[in-house]
Symmetry: C2
Subunit: 276 residues, 2 copies
């Protein structure tokens, strides 16, 4: 999928919502626990209930790995289910991987070939040769950590470098030169809306993946106004406040309701901005 394809899907759905499939085994409604793969069943219900309101889904790998081989099976089944039923969906593996070249190639194979994700989140600490193997896959995306939404982003990401700029700006500027706007995104936490403006000056045309709206407290309108571009240029990820909107048997109805609220707000913002 190219950035134009992504923008076309955003316009079609009047939504730049990404639903985070941080599916916690302990929060799954009881009636699903009888199924052989409860995590997959939960995801399937959430996806069926929200697929017309979201352009992307983002399973966080930690939730699947913590269940061992059964977790991987649920992940594979989720990806296959989306691919078979909703081919326009953009699938992001939230894995935050970062390793040397030949090992990166293996991870890239795992996420792009075996699992057919469109994108994978990556940590930039090991530098260019840890990222390039992902970029060699055609129509696949590297989503590189820029400035994250957690308190610990102050420890190193916001540290001043030799030329007086924070490290995350150096990371974004440098990493943007490794690929194109059709294979590179950056993770920018929604709790850092004031820093989005300066990041947009460095990378005016790249898509941003923005977590932290909802439970983590980021404000959707503020993030949008500071970060959108003429092709929208952002995916807002919401996890818990959609998928755990309700933990009863009605969970998918509540999840859909919450997703509609986000979509409606996004539609208003994009209409006002004149980009849909």
């Amino acid at each position: 999928m190219t950035s134009s394809d992504l923008y076309r899907n955003i316009k079609k759905k009047t939504s730049f919502l990404c639903v985070g499939l941080d599916t916690d085994f302990n929060k799954i409604p009881k009636f699903l626990l009888d199924k052989p793969y409860p995590v997959f069943e939960f995801n399937k219900h959430i996806i069926d209930a929200t697929e017309d309101l979201a352009v992307a889904y983002k399973p966080n790998l930690a939730f699947y790995e913590s269940l061992g081989a059964a977790g991987w099976m649920s992940l594979e089944m989720t990806i296959n289910y989306v691919r078979e039923n909703y081919p326009d969906i953009f699938l992001i593996a939230d894995a935050k991987r970062g390793d040397i070249g030949n090992t990166s190639t293996l991870y890239a194979n795992a996420f792009f070939r075996n699992l057919d994700f469109d994108a994978v989140t990556l940590s930039p600490y090991m530098g260019k040769d840890s990222i390039m193997p992902y970029m060699e896959f055609k129509n696949k995306w590297s989503v590189i950590l820029g400035l994250t939404s957690n308190a610990g982003s102050r420890d190193f990401q916001q540290m001043e470098t030799g030329d007086g700029k924070p490290l995350y700006e150096e990371v974004i500027r440098t990493a943007a030169s490794w690929g194109t706007v059709d294979n590179t995104m950056f993770v920018i936490g929604a709790t850092k809306a004031d820093q989005l403006k300066s990041i947009r000056k460095i990378i005016p045309d790249h898509f941003l993946l923005v977590p932290g709206v909802g439970t983590q407290g980021g404000d959707l309108e503020e993030v949008f106004l500071n970060g959108y571009n003429n092709s929208c240029g952002m995916l807002i990820n919401v996890s818990r406040s959609i998928i755990y909107a309700d933990v009863t048997n009605r969970f998918e109805i509540s999840a859909r309701q919450k997703a509609i609220e986000y979509r409606d707000q996004m539609e208003v913002l994009m209409t006002k901005a004149g980009i849909i």
Copy 2:
């Protein structure tokens, strides 16, 4: 396992060798491919052939994840096999994870509880709250990326920060304050032997995990002389030049022979240094 336990095992085996289980399905001898879990079978043979010569094993997760659920099964079986047969072995999950707090807790559970690893490698880019969940596990270790052996370490790790020091020094100094010498190690690439001396001034007492000896060209003696301390203070990881020393049916004999060479060289170095 504490750092004293690790040093005791090093003295007993006159070795600070860590064998990297970067088990590539395509390099496994043909006769093992008939088994239901060839990767596990390969690991089992390598471990049985080298367990008296190595103090640690380090599976790189990419090799297992790239095989999907079957890969996870092989990983689980490998860890369980070591735990049942060689309880003194230190097991490192080379995962290079780094995510926000609640997600880190899930990864920590996956590696420390479900799989009973002793340690996991972690990327520091997201800061303190991405690492602390691992440190809450008693007798488990965080092995934090400091200065890696790949070319890309120049992109950010060696970047000058505001106070004139390279980023990796800031990372090591700061991250060392989060834990103790009994739950924190740092990854320092063997191709950076000249920088080891200055790192040792910052963290004289921590164990270092040193990859890059062997196929990647790092020199064992040079690394040791620049980096050892009174409790040895280092694990040298060797992967390919041991596990793929020979790809015929005799692979375990050649792997053992190669491990003996490393052990013998380590014994001489530690004897000369007066630490065994």
